[in-house]
Amino acid sequence: MEGLSAVLESLPYIISGIPVTLGLVALSLLVGFALGVPMGVAMVYGNRVVIKIIQVFVFVLRGLPNLVLLFLFYFGIFPLLGWNLSPFTIGAITLGLRSAAYQTEIFRGAILSLGEGQMLAALSVGMSKNQAIWNIILPQALRLALPGWSNEYPILLTDSSVTYAIGVAEILTRGGQMVTRTYQPMPIYLTCALMFIFLNWGGMQIIQWGEKKAYIPGLGRKRETQ
């Protein structure tokens, strides 16, 4: 019964970490999307220099462990720049940049899967390359990217707990604090785990709803007969 009372005692404190966790996820998804879409486009239609720069960015960001990246930003890069940012902001930027690297590849793959015909047809009716990307390529590529993109939510949700290491008051950090107070690790970490599971389930519902909303008959399916 000590476990149960520890959980009940901790619950309000841990629950108030939910908005922090969700804030980290939302911001890093947003940063990743805002950078990943243009970088994915540039990987397909950009010039050689731009492509090279993005390749290096993707290679580095995907090649470093989250925690290493987080420490580099928290103890190194931002202090050196003299920017006084909160741990929350640094956490969101770090997770967001890393997600941008993954999202770049997701959007690049989706654009390539369209084939060159869509761009040729758009140019042939007089669109500029930018008009074609905006009106023809992206509306299709973003839809095709959705299944792969939806992975980013559970990945960022679970990864957000590494910000524990720089003291962001998200779910796991708060759980840890309550463990040191109550000496009941198992019940409290289980509580944290259930919260992550619940948030994951909720997010998936939203993504599935979005996929249905964005559905267009036959889009992305190769014709079997002409």
């Binding site: 015909g117 869509q118 040729l120 047809a121 758009a122 140019l123 042939s124 009716v125 007089g126 669109m127 500029s128 390359k129 008009q131 009106n135 023809i136 509306p139 299709q140 839809r143 267009i216 008959p217 036959g218 889009l219 992305g220 399916r221 014709r223 007969t225 002409q226």
Partner: protein, 258 residues
């Protein structure tokens, strides 16, 4: 060549294109007059598709000049974009925009390129869809159309821009045989209605009954050209004869009525 003639719409002058070490086009020239239908025939690998793509600069030729209505095509982006509006292109694989309906496919360039108001664009798009017999399918997505229907919508999409010339790149080659007829009929009507067209095709029946001139292309050059009666029944070049006999084995003998 008389490039200033009032009736010549499209002048193609000495076009060369090389990929790596392969020379695809080796100096192709021809002129299309207003209302004419020119048909290009020839074996695969002859450079027919590359030639069409060079005409509207989807492929930039290495050398040679293109004139539309006496105006030379310059190689700046803004100029090319404006120029492409005046040349309609129909692709072998249709390339309809898969995320929007048939109607929106025809409408989108009117809205985004010609900056028409929506009601005006809709009216124009419906008119063009009616012209290819697709008005009643306007609300369907490309994946919901048969190949023949999709190709007709892609013709309407090109026509909607009121192009000076229409280019057709093997428009029936990707279709099941029983669907080619509906597309060829639309094209026949366009030709008779005075639309200026350049058509790459293996449909010899269509070529012989509709073309004002047939050009036989092989290895990056136009080997022989003339009225269909001459090319099909009295070809001068040995290789034209050979090609035609191979084609008639595949598609059946040609009769003079097409």
């Amino acid at each position: 060549m008389n490039t200033t003639s009032a009736t010549s719409i499209l002048v193609v002058e000495n076009i060369y294109k090389t990929y790596g070490k392969t020379e695809i086009l080796k100096g192709v020239s021809f002129t299309v007059n207003k209302g004419e239908t020119k048909v290009i025939i020839g074996p695969s690998g002859a450079g027919k598709s590359t030639l069409l793509k060079c005409i509207n600069q989807l492929i930039i030729p290495d050398r040679g000049r293109i004139f539309l209505n006496g105006e030379e095509v310059l190689h700046s982006h803004s100029h090319i974009n404006r120029f492409r509006q005046k040349i309609g292109m129909v692709f072998q694989n249709f390339y309809l925009f898969d995320h929007i309906t048939a109607l929106e496919n025809v409408e989108i360039a009117l809205l985004k390129v010609k900056k028409m108001k929506r009601p005006e664009a809709r009216e124009k798009a419906l008119k063009e869809l009616a012209r290819v017999g697709m008005k009643d399918k306007a609300h369907l997505y490309p994946a919901e159309l048969s190949g023949g229907q999709a190709q007709r919508v892609s013709i309407a999409r090109a026509l909607a821009m009121d192009p000076e010339v229409m280019l057709f790149d093997e428009p029936t080659s990707a279709l099941d045989p029983e669907l080619t007829g509906e597309v060829l009929e639309v094209m026949r009507n366009l030709a008779q209605g005075g639309v200026t067209m350049v058509v790459v095709t293996h449909e010899m029946g269509f070529a012989s009954s509709v073309a004002d001139e047939v050009m036989f292309m092989e290895e990056g050059k136009i080997l022989e050209s003339g009225p269909p009666s001459q090319i099909f029944f009295h070809p001068q070049e040995e290789r034209t004869k050979k090609f035609l006999s191979r084609i008639s084995e595949l598609y059946g003998e040609l009769n003079r009525n097409g």
